[in-house]
Symmetry: C2
Subunit: 299 residues, 2 copies
């Protein structure tokens, strides 16, 4: 990795933790502990199960319980058993809690304003644009790719959303029964693998790789959630699958796609795939691509 890039990132980290980080805690926790304030914020207008709160903030169950008790004593939240499962308890804001939440919201605005305030209009516009770019790319860097079993709930969630989207976009609709679908076993090692992309634990994309013993490796069911598009995730899936195919000693990677998926087709071209004649008779495919696998792929 480039040394000057590292140095720039470090300068950024220093300035930002000072200017944003410290102020952030200061604004947030002006009259209550930061932990309580974060929890109150996370409960939000719509309420949350205790379990979700614990997970999102990454806190110990005993600790969350105590924080909630303290907020309850201050009359900011009520905690009551969930209707569906009486072990689960759900938290919602009281009127006073909503007011406190609005106060935190206003403070967050205030902090943002204080960052822009000393700048003139041109500088503000440039700062906001740079922040948008940095935010987008940092978010992209936060996405993790993990190999999971295709029966994993996150994998199933992605596949369901994927099929829904195909049904909506294809001129002909989409019926999984008519398509050449690999069975789950074909996307499990050693016959294949299945990747899920997650952002803050939520699944936001998937991609499968078939590794048939007697044919080239094949990419199947690549999908990126609408909320995660524009993060370069498709390209990252391709690179990751290519690296994994290389690890398995494969030299060729191929895939088929539908003509309505124009963004994907553009991606395949720009990632070095060449269009080839049909290598299968998938009824929903209009284009077939192939790529010679690179020995080593950089990040």
């Amino acid at each position: 990795m480039d040394e000057t890039q590292i140095q720039q990132v470090r300068r950024f980290n220093r300035v930002v933790t000072q200017r944003v980080g410290v102020l952030h805690e200061h604004y947030l926790g002006r009259d209550r502990p930061v932990g309580e304030a974060r929890l109150l914020w996370e409960v939000g207008e719509r309420g949350q199960d205790v379990r979700q709160l614990r997970e999102r903030l990454g806190l110990d169950s005993g600790y969350v319980s105590r924080l909630l008790r303290s907020l309850e004593d201050d009359g900011l939240v009520v905690v009551e058993p969930s209707a569906r499962d009486r072990r689960v308890r759900t938290v919602r804001l009281t009127e006073a809690g909503r007011a406190e939440h609005a106060l935190l919201d206003a403070r967050s605005d205030e902090l943002a304003g204080s960052l822009l305030e000393p700048l003139n209009a041109g500088q503000r516009a440039r700062l906001v644009a740079a922040m948008a770019e940095a935010e987008r790319l940092l978010t992209a860097a936060t996405v993790t790719l993990d190999a999971v079993d295709p029966a994993h709930p996150d994998a199933e969630h992605c596949l369901r959303r994927y099929f829904e989207e195909l049904a909506e976009r294809f001129d002909t609709g989409f019926d999984p029964a008519r398509s050449l679908l690999p069975d789950a076993g074909e996307l499990r090692l050693p016959r294949g693998l299945f990747l899920v992309a997650r952002l803050h634990g939520e699944p936001v994309g998937c991609a499968g790789l078939k590794l048939p013993p007697d044919a080239p490796a094949e990419i199947k069911r690549m999908w990126v959630a609408p909320s995660a598009r524009g993060l370069g995730l498709g390209r990252r899936f391709l690179a990751e699958l290519e690296a994994r195919a290389a690890e398995q000693g494969r030299e060729v990677l191929r895939l088929d796609t539908n003509k309505t998926l124009s963004a994907a087709i553009g991606l395949y071209h720009s990632a070095g795939f060449q269009e080839v004649p049909a290598f299968n008779d998938e009824p929903y495919a209009h284009h077939w691509f192939e790529k010679r696998v690179a020995r080593r792929v950089e990040g």
Copy 2:
């Protein structure tokens, strides 16, 4: 202020405090408390007075003392009376302390690397560019402008540097005695004022305003430290002085300058100043400018 800008800044703050802030603490304080690690870092290769450490980190004197004791017990620093003033104690790293410092340095590199690592080369370049821009503008927004007495040490420091720079840049050198210098009283209210710009407490620029009762307001001795150039500070001084002149009921602002200060001349033009015939006989001036003061000036 623009609502969509505020929202973008808030999104940025959220992503960055999560991604950078949390990781930062995690990397920094892996095997010692964050407070100690920060202090050790701040001591640095060259050593520091206890007083400076306290000021830079904004910590209580008792607390710093205790942290230093703990670092001393671990053999990482030595604390000894300063030669100049035996009340002051100075801290420097031991050999072990230097090693620990290097470790923190390496971790900081590691953190920076982990932010870039999941991205491809193009994304990395764009992230680093956006970070550089954001860092520069956040730094610019951190600079404060305060009216001070022209005899204040920070004001004198700036003026000394200003004269040194003029002496170096003017073809003819610069002798303050030959120039039309306002005496200090002319840069004190009600006859004038003097602004100092500071970044993290350090003076990085100055600008004076003369408010003679029988003549237009006049900008004098505007200077920006080389380390703080490119932050739009000159433009900010002009806007601030214009606003203050307007507050004092002035309608015209003027100034003179030397031909070698081409960046300043460009700034005056772009800030709406018009070149006018000489209105004084300052021997070091080649250009004279004037501007009608706006009623209200935006940030």
